[in-house]
Symmetry: C2
Subunit: 347 residues, 2 copies
């Protein structure tokens, strides 16, 4: 049986005071710092995209862990559209989750060995050549061209996390580095972060032995880090977008509004687990009274909701067969809002 | 806190009577049946390789799940060596875990977009060509050649699972199909299967809500299916190899012996989480008294242990930089033992 019950929780401060940082933190942050200072020099906006699920190890020598469902499709796809829009992207993702560009050929989707062919060159002693099958050539050429040009421009920086502890430490440290960009920084927090964790002090050292009956796990709540992130780490200047994934549609908008009220950031993108590829809702605070026809729905005076929808196609393979990806529209709308946010300051 | 406490458990029979089969079971098994009957006609031995970790969903609309650590390296690597040894392989693996051949270029290891180049053909109006970088060409050609020849021979059949429930239903159904092969079937159970599960009847329908304190999870024990597998599903004829992964070295051999006693199968391969790429131990029942110099260690009269070790290299990248993979030796030893097992019957 899984259930949530009442108990006291860690504050962000208590969390970082009691849980150990990942060993590679300093090294990772040194690289981010270099990346950011190059983008500052070159005048780019920078977005931190988080992507994939976090784990909660149950043992110090990790065999078992709690995980959150996420292949990283939203984050990897969005990163491509941010890059296309001229942003520099820090792509902070779960190890082995999908990545921009390579996502088109990952895992079981278009396994790349299937579109390579061996062509022996008859009449010569040269070794056989490896070719790309004809039907894949055009697609691959487009993806490869975008990939190479992003690498040449140096606008994509990738870093990985596995556990929710890695994630929290990295997020705080990257936020502090991104401060130098002020309003020109955006956060696109698409990672599926665990709400619960097992404090280091409560973990068992070795693999939990079975054979003795049922397993009981009791976890503490992960601190709500959006509040210190908005008000302290980023000094209230960054444009921060968080996500709310629900399976019960009824909860989507109330929970998104509650998050905005509690944390004071700019946008919550709400999505239902089963319709997330075709439909999302932007929830934000209404800036001024708007005629009600401008928006699909608007709560009186406080919140604005804007739905983005794309058609659900007959062959809904999100990577190859879908003509349009909803992330294209999501990023276009965010770039527009971020630009307004930046101009509100500089004007 | 995670701890195991005493409670009654499901028998395999009770498990299958109360937990629903995966929706694609019939379709998947139809394909396996066709594959097996082709191998029977062509006279091949068939091995079922299971690979990757199973999940335990905590919710019916899955957001959170318990997982077992496994990228699927052992299974994917072993499958290649079985194919090389002339076996037909049913590769039953966790969705998105590593697969034979493509494993060499998966995830962050050798991302394949990095070794493709765009070569524009000057002086012509033809579109640019995609080439493989020079330093990767030889390696890729070898992998690709093996991959293409296995596909041409039709000796590899792949099927996927996600949850421990998928895994258990598939394993039982495949075992029943493999019966027709008698002694010529082998089971190489390298998947990291959860010891615990959450019965369908106890799962919450929607995402467990946070914000209300700590998380308590109480799980039941997964039934020990090796026993019915050995004695009922495979009628005692198949050659069955299971794995024991521990982080506490002291437990390895006692637990491997206990498993052999309890289930009555042929081999347990024991491995320590941190040394599994370089060292494993084969534990089996001693068939006859052997001079003690033949084996590293042997318990009096009952069990035989045989250690396999390969050197730990300075650059221990298991896929690309390691000259030797321990799976090569593991499979060679198993093929030898399986052949003896087959001949004991036919002679």
């Amino acid at each position: 049986m899984a259930a949530a019950t009442t108990e006291t929780t860690f504050s962000a401060e208590e969390y970082f005071a009691t849980q150990p940082p990942p060993p590679s933190l300093e090294h990772d942050i040194g690289e981010v710092r270099d990346f950011i200072s190059r983008q500052v020099k070159e005048g780019r906006n920078v977005v931190l995209v988080t992507s994939g699920g976090t784990t909660v190890p149950l043992e110090l020598n990790v065999v078992r862990f709690l995980d959150n469902f996420s292949a990283g499709t939203r984050g990897a796809t969005s990163a491509e559209y941010f890059l296309k829009a001229g942003y520099a992207v820090i792509f902070m993702h779960r190890q082995f989750s999908l990545q921009p560009y390579s996502r088109h050929y990952s895992h079981s989707t278009n396994p790349f060995l299937d579109f390579l062919e061996i062509e022996s060159r008859s009449g010569t002693s040269s070794p056989p050549e490896i070719c790309v099958t004809h039907n894949m050539r055009q697609d691959l050429l487009e993806v490869l061209t975008a990939y190479k040009s992003v690498h040449a421009a140096g606008t994509l920086h990738t870093m990985t996390f596995v556990t929710v502890n890695d994630y929290l430490w990295l997020l705080r440290a990257v936020s502090q580095e991104l401060c130098v960009l002020g309003k020109k920084s955006m956060y696109y927090l698409a990672a599926a972060v665990s709400d619960f964790f097992l404090p280091r002090q409560k973990m068992s050292e070795h693999k939990i032995q079975s054979g003795k009956g049922s397993l009981h796990i009791e976890m503490d709540q992960v601190p709500k880090i959006l509040k210190p992130m908005v008000h302290e780490w980023t000094k209230g200047e960054a444009f921060i977008v968080s996500f709310k994934l629900e399976t019960d549609e009824q909860l989507l908008i109330p929970k998104a509004r509650a998050a905005l009220e509690r944390y004071g950031h700019q946008v919550v993108i709400g999505n239902d687990l089963h319709r997330r590829k075709f439909e999302v809702v932007f929830v934000s605070r209404a800036q001024r009274p708007l005629p009600s026809t401008d928006l699909d729905d608007q709560s009186p005076g406080t919140f604005a909701e804007m739905w983005l929808r794309i058609p659900v196609l007959a062959t809904p393979n999100p990577v190859t067969h879908q003509v349009k990806e909803i992330e294209e529209d999501i990023i276009a709308e965010l770039v527009r809002r971020h630009s307004r946010w930046i101009n509100e300051v500089y004007n």
